[in-house]
C-alpha cells in the first residue's frame, strides 16, 4: 500500500450527493482481471458530458476530490478506489462515505476525509472561486488546510498509523498466526465446510 502522510494539491468540487460506486466506475469496467487501467473508467458515463466538472480544464491535474455527502455508496467494488487513485486522486473529502468504500480506501492508501457538511461546502466554494488554490490534507496533524482556513478531521489511531507507514494488513495479521490456529481449535464441531 502507498503510504500517506501529507499531501498538497489542487482540488476539484463534485457537488453531487449519493455518488454510488456504479457511477465512480460502471460495471462494464470491472471485467478486467488486472489492477491497472481503471482511470479510463472513472465516472465514465458522466465524463461523456463536456460540462462535467472533471472535464473542466481548470481542474486538470487536481489530486483531491471534494464530494457531496454519501460518497461511494452501493457496490463493494474496490475498482472504484483503484480508478480514483489511478486517475491521480490521493484523497477524497466528503461529509459521509459508504462504509465499504471508506474501508477499501484505507486499504489502498486513498485517504477518505470526513468533514462536516458546512465545511465541505465552504471548501467546494473556495476551490470554485479559485481553482488554482492549493489544499493540504495532513494526516499527521489530522487537518485540512486551504487559503488561511483549516479544519480538523477524525480518523482512528490504528488506521492512521497504518496509512502513515503504508503497512500491508496481511503481513500484520500473519504475525498473529498462532492466535488464529488456537481459535480454530476451539471452533464448534458442527460448523460447515465446503468440501
Amino acid at each position: 500500500m502507498e503510504a500517506f502522510t501529507t499531501h498538497t494539491g489542487r482540488a476539484v468540487p463534485l457537488r453531487r450527493s449519493n455518488v454510488d460506486t456504479d457511477q465512480i466506475i460502471p460495471a462494464v469496467w470491472l471485467k478486467q482481471v488486472s489492477r491497472t487501467g481503471f482511470e479510463r473508467g472513472l465516472f465514465a458515463a458522466w465524463r461523456e458530458d463536456p460540462g462535467f466538472v472533471l472535464n473542466d480544464p481548470v481542474y486538470q491535474g487536481a489530486s483531491i476530490l471534494v464530494a457531496g455527502p454519501d460518497f461511494g455508496t452501493g457496490s463493494s467494488r474496490e475498482h472504484a478506489v483503484w480508478a480514483l487513485q489511478q486517475y491521480g486522486f490521493r484523497a477524497v473529502i466528503a461529509a459521509r462515505f459508504g462504509d465499504i468504500f471508506r474501508n477499501n480506501s484505507t486499504k489502498m492508501g486513498l485517504l477518505p476525509v470526513v468533514l462536516p457538511d458546512a465545511t465541505v461546502e465552504a471548501l467546494q466554494a473556495a476551490v470554485e472561486a479559485d481553482p488554482s488554490a492549493e489544499v493540504t490534507v495532513d494526516l499527521v496533524e489530522r487537518q485540512v488546510r486551504w487559503g488561511g482556513e483549516s479544519a480538523g478531521f477524525e480518523i482512528d489511531d490504528y488506521t492512521r498509523w497504518r496509512l502513515l507507514s503504508g503497512l500491508d494488513d496481511i503481513g500484520l495479521t500473519l504475525r498473529h498466526a498462532d492466535d488464529v490456529a488456537e481459535y480454530e481449535n476451539g471452533r464448534q464441531p458442527w460448523l460447515p465446510t465446503t468440501v
Binding site: 449519493n18 474496490e78 477499501n104 460447515p192
Partner: protein, 458 residues
Amino acid sequence: MGRTLAEKVWEQHVVRRADGEPDLLYIDLHLIHEVTSPQAFDGLRLAGRKVRRPDLTIATEDHNVPTVLGPIADPVSKAQVETLRKNAAEFGIRLHPMGDAGQGVVHIIGPQFGLTQPGMTVVCGDSHTSTHGAFGALAFGIGTSEVEHVLATQTLPAYRPKTMAIEVSGALPYGVTAKDLILAIIAKIGTGGGQGHIVEYRGQAIRDLSMEGRMTVCNMSIEAGARAGMIAPDETTFEYLKGRQHAPSGEAWDAAVEYWRSLRTDDDAVFDTVVEIDASTLTPFVTWGTNPGQGAPLSGAVPAPEETSDPAAAQRALEYMDLRAGTPLTEIQVDTVFVGSCTNGRLEDLRAVADVLRGRTVATRTLIVPGSMRVKAEAEAEGLDEVFKAAGAEWREAGCSMCLGMNPDILAPGERSASTSNRNFEGRQGKGGRTHLVSPAVAAATAVTGRLTAPADL
C-alpha cells in the same frame, strides 16, 4: 447488561483483541465470484501465499454469465470467468461453473447448500453479502484487498459497528411483500441511514416472513447504508436448514440448534439506534429515482423535488429518469420487466410471479431469470416455466442477468424497466437505462399492463 444478537456473534469470532487496534475476526465462510477475486489471487501469488482454509471457501460464476445457453461471447467476460477457474484449480477451491447444477448467484447458493447457518461470520467481495444475515449470521461485503486478506488468513481486522434495531410491528397487509417492506424502510431512513451500523430486523412482521422473504429484506440492508442486516434465528430458520446438504445432522444438529436458540438479543440489551415501522400501514412500494431511497407507494405520484429531503438529487434523478413531478406512478410505461437477482430470484418470488401471470399475457418484454440452477429446476418441477412461457415471458438460465450491466442482459439507453433487483443507480442495468425497483408481484402485474401496476388493480 444484555447483549444484542450482533454483539453475541461478533464476540464469538474475536481471535485477538488489543487496545487501540481493530478486533481480529475469524471468518467461517468465504464466498467468491469472478469479478472481485482475480486481483486478490494475483496478490497471493505475488507474495507466495496460500489459501489458509480452502475448505471454508466456495466459488461460483454469476455476474458475467449469459442467461441463454451457450458459451460466453464477450472475450473480456470469458477471460474473467476463465481466470476464476484457473485460480480455483490452483488454490484448491470448490467451484460451481456455468452449467453445473450447483451454480447460481453467490448469495442464493450459500443458503441453498445449507452453508449459511446462524451465528456464523460470512464474507464475500460483494455488498449484498448482507443477504445471509437472514439466518442470524453476521455477513458483510468486502473489497478485493480484504478478499485477499481472508484468503490468506481466514480472518479480518474490523471495528465493531454500532447496532440499530428496526422494529417492524403489526402484520403486512395482504399483497404487501418483503420487498415492499424493505423499500419502505430505505425510503424512511435514507441510503445513509444505516451507515456504520449492523441492523437487526425485529418484530412481528419480520417473524412472520419466510426465510426467502427474510433474505430479501437483509439483502437490501446495504441500500440503507448498513454494514450488515440480521434476523434472529427461530423455528422458521431451523425448518429451512434441516436436511440441507451442509447443515449438521444427528446429534450435531441438536447441539447446533441448542446454540442457535441462544442467538437472540437479550431483553435488556440496548441498541445505539432504534427505528420503528408499522407494517400494517404499508402498500406496494416502488422507486421513482436513481437511488433506492427515492421510493414511494405505488398508489402515489412522482414527488416534486422540493418535497424531498434532497431536492438537488431529486431534480437530477427526475431528469435522468425522464419523469415529471405529479405523474401518478401507475401511469409510468415500462419497456422491460426483469424478475431475478439475489434480492428476488428465489422460488417463492417465481411462484408470486406465476400466480399473477397464470392465464394472462405479458404486454412487454419480460425476462424471468432464476437465481440459481437449483431454483430453475425446482420451478420447472412445479411447472412455473410453462406458466411464464404461456404468458409470453422469457425463461432464462441462472445468473445475475439484468441486475447489473456486466453480461448480455442490458437495457438500451433510455429504456425503462421494472426490476425486482436492488439498485436503481444511473446506468446500473445498462448505460442510460432507467430502473424502477419493484416486488415480484408488482413486476408481474406490470408485465401484463406495460405500466407500473399492483396485482390488485389487474
